[in-house]
């Protein structure tokens, strides 16, 4: 990771973000409840930084990424973004005209390189589409710009008239990255960009993302479930559980001294590429809570080995325990959780 720029104000600041999906039942489609996919998250990202967002299925990380991008409209909350053209704006509240500008600067890379490229469009069409739609380039200039970006992501520009099926998974992911980079963005949401790739290809793409960040001064929100990948590429990491952010800290602090029991369990569950037997394992029981009917109090309490009475009734506050290290747990100050050093000692 490059050093975060010295600007003191964040590039992106998310305040009290919520995204609820209504559950409709019956003939009259009455709203009987809500799936609280994203339930009150707060974060900020400095220019040039990579913030990781980890969690398991249904934790809301993908919905959070999309809400921040305004790919879906948040239910409430603010997304304050420093756009290079518009200045400081609340992306969640923008009208369509201003949104068009922000779409140049905030882009997304998707997980599935096979599903995220239209099979009936050439690479030129795919990478050039945002440029055409935004009226930025035409004709020969468009082709030149596409050639430039393809070269930047490590693809031969001569390939631009081919179709996606001619490329491997890793190459397709590069095409997806090129598409994201086309209008010269400042902020990119990477939604599980390497999960679907082979091990050796994963390494190439991670290196590419880092190189691009350095060359182009990009800021990343890196959404993933693989903690080893996140530990490698992120400056800070947030942990999500059933729509809530339960921990947020600089990478090293999170892994060496986790403060939330769920973070401890996640790290403990990682299969390490080392065959020595592991003794200090925390194995979670039960299933991930249902975001349509979450437990009372702390959502994690039914699976938590440190649960006490207060955890069953009162939702903990998201508090800063040590500088830069936030956690949502009643007992964070007193628990002594297993971090990566103890895990590696086995």
């Amino acid at each position: 990771m490059t050093n975060p720029a010295n600007k003191s104000e964040p590039l992106l600041e998310v305040q009290d973000l919520k995204k609820y999906f209504p559950i409709k039942r019956g003939f009259f489609k009455r709203v009987v409840g809500h799936v609280k996919a994203v339930d009150d998250i707060n974060l900020h990202i400095m220019e040039g930084e990579t913030l990781g967002m980890v969690g398991e299925s249904g934790c809301g990380k993908t919905t959070a990424g999309r809400s921040i991008m305004r790919a879906i409209t948040p239910s409430s909350g603010k997304v304050m973004f420093r756009d290079p053209i518009l200045g400081l704006v609340d992306v969640a509240a923008l009208d369509d005209k201003d949104l068009m500008h922000v779409r140049r600067s905030m882009r997304m890379i998707f997980q599935d390189p096979y599903a995220s490229l239209n099979p009936r469009m050439t690479i030129l069409d795919i990478v050039g589409a945002p440029l055409r739609a935004m009226g930025l380039f035409h004709g020969k200039q468009l082709e030149d710009r596409v050639a430039e970006i393809l070269d930047l992501v490590g693809l031969r520009p001569e390939y631009m008239r081919r179709y996606p099926h001619a490329f491997s998974g890793g190459q397709r992911q590069r095409i997806g990255i090129a598409r994201a980079l086309a209008p010269s963005p400042t902020f990119i949401v990477c939604d599980e960009p390497v999960s679907a790739l082979d091990v050796s290809v994963q390494a190439q793409i991670l290196n590419l993302l880092q190189d691009l960040q350095g060359k182009l001064g990009l800021t990343y929100l890196f959404v993933a479930h693989d903690l080893s990948v996140v530990a490698h590429i992120c400056n800070r990491v947030s942990v999500m559980y059933v729509g809530k952010m339960v921990e947020l800290a600089p990478t090293r602090d999170l892994f060496v001294s986790p403060l939330h029991p769920y973070t401890e369990a996640l790290m403990s569950a990682i299969p390490l590429p080392d065959p020595r037997p592991r003794t200090k394992r925390v194995l979670l029981s039960g299933e991930v809570a249902n975001p349509a009917s979450p437990p009372s109090g702390c959502y994690f309490h039914p699976r938590c080995s440190y649960c006490q009475d207060i955890c069953k009734t009162e939702e903990p506050a998201f508090k800063e325990l040590t500088p830069g290290h936030f956690v949502k747990c009643h007992r964070a100050a007193e628990l002594n959780l297993t971090g990566v050093s103890e895990i590696l000692e086995h």
Binding site: M1, S168, V201, P275
Partner: protein
Amino acid sequence: MTENLIEIKNLRTYFHLAEGVVRAVDGVDLNIKRKKTLGIVGESGCGKSMMSLSLLRLVPSPGKIEGGEILYHHTVHENQDNALSSVVDITKLDPMGKEMRSIRGNQISMVFQEPMTAMSPILTIGRQITEVITLHQKVNQAEARNRAIEMLARVRMPKPERVIDDYPFQLSGGMRQRAVIAMALCCQPQMLIADEPTTALDVTTEAQILQLMRDLQEEFGMAILYITHNLGVIAEIAEEVAVMYLGKVVEQTDVKSIFYQPLHPYTRALLQSIPQLKDVLLRHDDARRLQTIKGMIPDPYQHLKGCPFHPRCPEAILGVCDTVEPKVIQMGEGHIVRCHLYDK
């Protein structure tokens, strides 16, 4: 009783297509020991899935087993329909015949990556498990249902008496995978083939399923052939490991040696390219790059001369690796490697 349950000798499974021949499995030699877990590591196109499908004679057309042997040293149980002789060459059996059908799902079972594609979405879990039981065992429906509930309990499914009447869409990913494992184990097979069974699962669920498989292996005394590209999972579950590349086994040894003394350049490159948690402890603020393997997996229609890995190998010997195919070299106890670097 022999130590080896299955002996694969020079197995070749090819696809003859209009564009050319894809040598999915290209001369594989492997032994799977009774009650032990053999891990197969490899990336896309290495042939690991085709090899496991070959074992069960499930290779999709136009693929065909072109040559080689799959020797199955089985022991006869009480509950089977017919007694098989003690060694049988699976490649010689009729894939739809009575013998093969008595092996598939009964003596050798398989668990796939996507639990939804392994199960019918329109039948209850109970129907699907009892179907396997009544197909291979002489019991009535009521008894089969009891055994199915018992099996669900053994795979630690919460509320098995209720889940048995649920449909797959009503279960979470982890629960579906448990149901599929129950289906695979209900006839107490001698070997379980698991093809990336936890790739689609969350890491905490994955840890539970891996623990479950280790426990069941001990309980049932069965061999496991575990296929994955995840080196962390291999370290957790395998006792012996075979690394595959482009249809061939390039290195095979016990799990400790694979991680601590990898010999083949591809194995080494794989190990170096994964982001490791321990690196978090040595963090610096400057960007650290992962070691990558240069190039990409080549076009499957292209049959290179010499070693299939040579275009990407950092240690390739010009004139040797690009012309002569390396043979299998024995390096110490139980460690084989297919590489010219070790050819004295």
